[in-house]
């Protein structure tokens, strides 16, 4: 508005200036004519009056034009200032109108990145942000579609692994069962036949372990790995695990010692699963450590629960492998795994199981010095009493 007034003002000023110059010109001409008349001596009195009048006239014109100039300057300055303020207000308004849709977009992108694929934004604001919002929604729809296809594939994979590991159990039962049948009659077999059957049985056990591990992982992926924790006394469980392991460590002349703090509190766990985890950690320590190595199982109370350490003085784990140690199918050195019978799934399953219990598992290792795996288990609520196992018992459970 004021800017328009300034423009008009400037126009007006230019026209006025023209008038002024014309009036000054006319005044000079009138004065000049009067001076000529005065010099010629014609009507000298009237001519002098005309000269004085024209001088006064011009002085007045000069005053008036300088006032006009001042007014115009004020008008132009004010107009420009108002224009600047107007532009700033307009810009601020534009920013404000884009800010809300942009903030919504940033927020939605964050949610999408965090995995909420149903995230959409409300398309609004200036056309630029509206277009951006539309593009974002199309991208999110695309992602959601891909994710649901992937989820479906994942479910099919999980179902497949579950079914396959069940279906493989029957033929495996036959192979192992009939090989055992042969061994019942081992006195009538030659030495070479006995060795052959032993190889079959060794491989059956490995296959069973692999199947069980795969099944646990598939269950874990499908969210169907469940535990039934109950208040449990750790000491007998730990002693039993050490007894089970001793047969193997004795063969390698490794020393296996236990150091269990007396009066451990009850822990809230499923005993079979804890046995599975600890046997896995001890088997790793046994298999990866050389003959005559020493392996230790310790347990003590800590602030976070009961800490169980499996310590060996074996070859240790290189730092590069350490970050991936709990991932599936990650195993020690290729050279080492030749003689180690693991499946590469044990630690991944152990981690899933420990976390299912609300506990933690961690590793500390130094190449050449050995490794320590620490499992922390939650203490049972105060006042809890040891509970017996519920439900029907399992007989002839395959080796884990």
């Amino acid at each position: 508005m004021l800017t328009a007034a300034a423009v008009i003002g400037v126009g007006h000023f230019i026209a006025q200036r023209q008038d002024y110059e014309n009036s000054i010109e006319r005044s000079y001409q009138a004065e000049m004519a009067a001076r000529v008349e005065f010099a010629e001596g014609n009507r000298a009195g009237a001519a002098r009056r005309t000269i004085a009048r024209e001088e006064a006239n011009r002085a007045e014109l000069r005053n008036s034009i300088s006032e006009d100039t001042r007014n115009t300057a004020i008008l132009v300055g004010g107009g420009l200032l108002a224009g600047l303020i107007g532009a700033l207000l307009l810009f601020a308004g534009l920013i404000a109108s884009m800010r809300r849709p942009l903030e919504a977009l940033v927020d939605a992108a964050g949610r999408l990145a965090a995995g909420d694929r149903s995230t959409r934004v409300e398309v609004g604001g200036p056309s630029e942000t509206a277009t951006l919002g539309k593009a974002f929604n199309e991208m999110a729809t695309e992602l959601e579609l891909e994710a649901s296809e992937r989820d479906q594939l994942d479910r099919m994979k999980d179902e497949f692994v579950l079914t396959a590991s069940h279906e493989l159990r029957s033929p495996l039962t036959s192979v192992q069962g009939f090989a055992e049948l042969l061994m019942l009659d081992r006195d009538s077999l030659t030495q070479r036949q006995v060795e052959t059957v032993e190889i079959i049985l060794d491989n059956c056990r490995h296959l069973v372990r692999l199947l069980n591990d795969l099944l646990d992982l598939a269950r874990s992926d499908a969210g169907r790995l469940t535990i039934r924790p109950r208040p449990t006394r750790l000491t007998p469980l730990l002693e039993d695990v050490v007894r089970t392991m001793r047969a193997q460590t004795d063969k390698s002349e490794q020393t296996l010692t236990e150091n269990i703090e007396p009066d451990l509190p009850l822990v809230e766990v499923e005993p079979d699963r804890i046995r599975q985890i600890l046997l896995n950690l001890l088997t790793n320590a046994h298999e990866y450590s050389p003959e005559r190595a020493s392996i230790q199982l310790t347990a003590r109370v800590a602030d976070t629960g009961v800490e169980i350490d499996v310590i060996d003085n074996g070859p240790g784990i290189p730092p590069a492998q350490m970050e991936h140690i709990f991932e599936r199918f990650v195993r020690g050195d290729a050279g080492m795994t030749q003689r180690v019978g693991g499946t590469g799934l044990g630690l991944a399953i152990s981690k899933s199981l420990v976390e299912l219990h609300g506990g933690t598992i961690a590793v500390d290792s130094e190449v050449g010095r050995g490794s320590t795996f620490r499992v922390t288990l939650p203490v049972a609520p105060p006042g809890a009493v040891e509970a017996p196992q519920a439900g029907p018992r399992a007989i002839a459970e395959g080796p884990r």
Binding site: S165, H166, E167, R169, S170, L172, T173, S174, Q176, G177, F178, E180, L181, L184, C204, V208, L211, N212, L215, R219, R224, T226, R228, G391, P392, R393, A394, I395, A396, E397, G398, P399
Partner: protein
């Protein structure tokens, strides 16, 4: 002589179970599915088997279904269920049936024979 009725739809597994049980001194009857089991076993009869060893999943009639029918008819004979499931708790484990135990595949025969001995000793 102690008699065990074994039901499995796999002839191979049936042969394996029969051989191991016979070697351990049991008399073994076999059935190919749950239908044969319910036809063979008469609840309340005195010369029936001393133990049932039933596969959980069989065509026509599963071991679980057969046992459910027999229990409803008043059979008290102990029964073991053989399952391909690793964990009896996530097998379609019924909680309303009197089941003495689950045998998981692959079968650990030392433990199975211990359980059979224990259950048939109770029956005798």
């Amino acid at each position: 002589m102690t008699t065990v009725l074994v039901a499995d739809d796999s002839e191979t597994i049936l042969l394996l179970l029969r051989t191991r049980l016979e070697l351990a001194g049991y008399e073994v009857q076999t059935a190919a599915d749950g239908q044969e089991v319910t036809e063979r076993v008469v609840p309340g009869s005195s010369d029936g088997p001393d133990l049932l060893l039933l596969d959980a999943m069989m065509p026509r009639k599963s071991g679980i279904e057969a046992l459910r029918e027999l229990r409803a008819a008043g059979l008290e004979t102990p029964a073991l269920i053989v399952s391909a499931h690793q964990d009896p708790r996530d097998a379609d484990a019924p909680t309303d049936l009197e089941i003495s135990g689950y045998v998981t595949k692959p079968i650990d025969f030392d433990q199975l024979l211990d359980a059979v001995a224990e259950l048939t000793a109770k029956a005798a």
